[in-house]
Symmetry: C3
Amino acid sequence: MLLATTTTPDRATADAIASALVEKRLAACVQVSGPITSVYRWQGAVETSEEWLCTAKTTVERWHDLMALVQEMHPYQTPEIIATPIDQASEAYEVWVRGEVSAE
Amino acid sequence: MLLATTTTPDRATADAIASALVEKRLAACVQVSGPITSVYRWQGAVETSEEWLCTAKTTVERWHDLMALVQEMHPYQTPEIIATPIDQASEAYEVWVRGEVSAE
Amino acid sequence: MLLATTTTPDRATADAIASALVEKRLAACVQVSGPITSVYRWQGAVETSEEWLCTAKTTVERWHDLMALVQEMHPYQTPEIIATPIDQASEAYEVWVRGEVSAE
């Protein structure tokens, strides 16, 4: 399983991506949190922006389709779409996640 | 080492789980954050709930006992109890974590 | 790539570390979030503190220098400085991260 994340410039985009990922069974569940402050370099200067974070619980098999949908819905040209591995999980939770993302 | 997480329906449950994990030396420290919005499918419809997030720093050796205690204290039948690997850490911090979870 | 995190006792320290990591090209971007509640053991009792979280997107090659700078700027003697692996990323985002941290 994977913990897949993206950051968005506003709450509405985060909510829309979260709902779409669950609706299309690309994630079993998604958590939306924020606002957070993003710090990055832009045209040589360090800038900050307010952002929102989506954290999706999914499987390796669904990663490419999840990434494609986030890319399509995201207003940035190069959004952060990354995933860290879920190495351990309670057995019942893993069964639930795999059922949610493969039931269509 | 592992970064183990669970989400709870309220702040009080998150605080109680965090305290119990540290008290019983199943985690060296736990961070509680929220509220966050969880998006998931329930009876065919996409629903949202407010939740709180616990993030525990622990070791692979303590994972099963940590999972069992969270399961026992958690009001959900199938709570999210997952862990991602900690691949890198400052040496002093790792020594501290390992000491905290094995000192009883 | 790595997702490197540290927690700080106040917002100003988190902001200063985030800016310095981006300025010195030790991270492509850093997110600051909080306040969160940290639960830990101190002199035998379970204590809580308010903290702030920095999450940095970087590469394995930059980990040691990132860790050294956080250690130098951090007010704690044994700060949490850890990293989880980024196993998947959109190709364009990975190209951007690698460019940001190696461009000096």
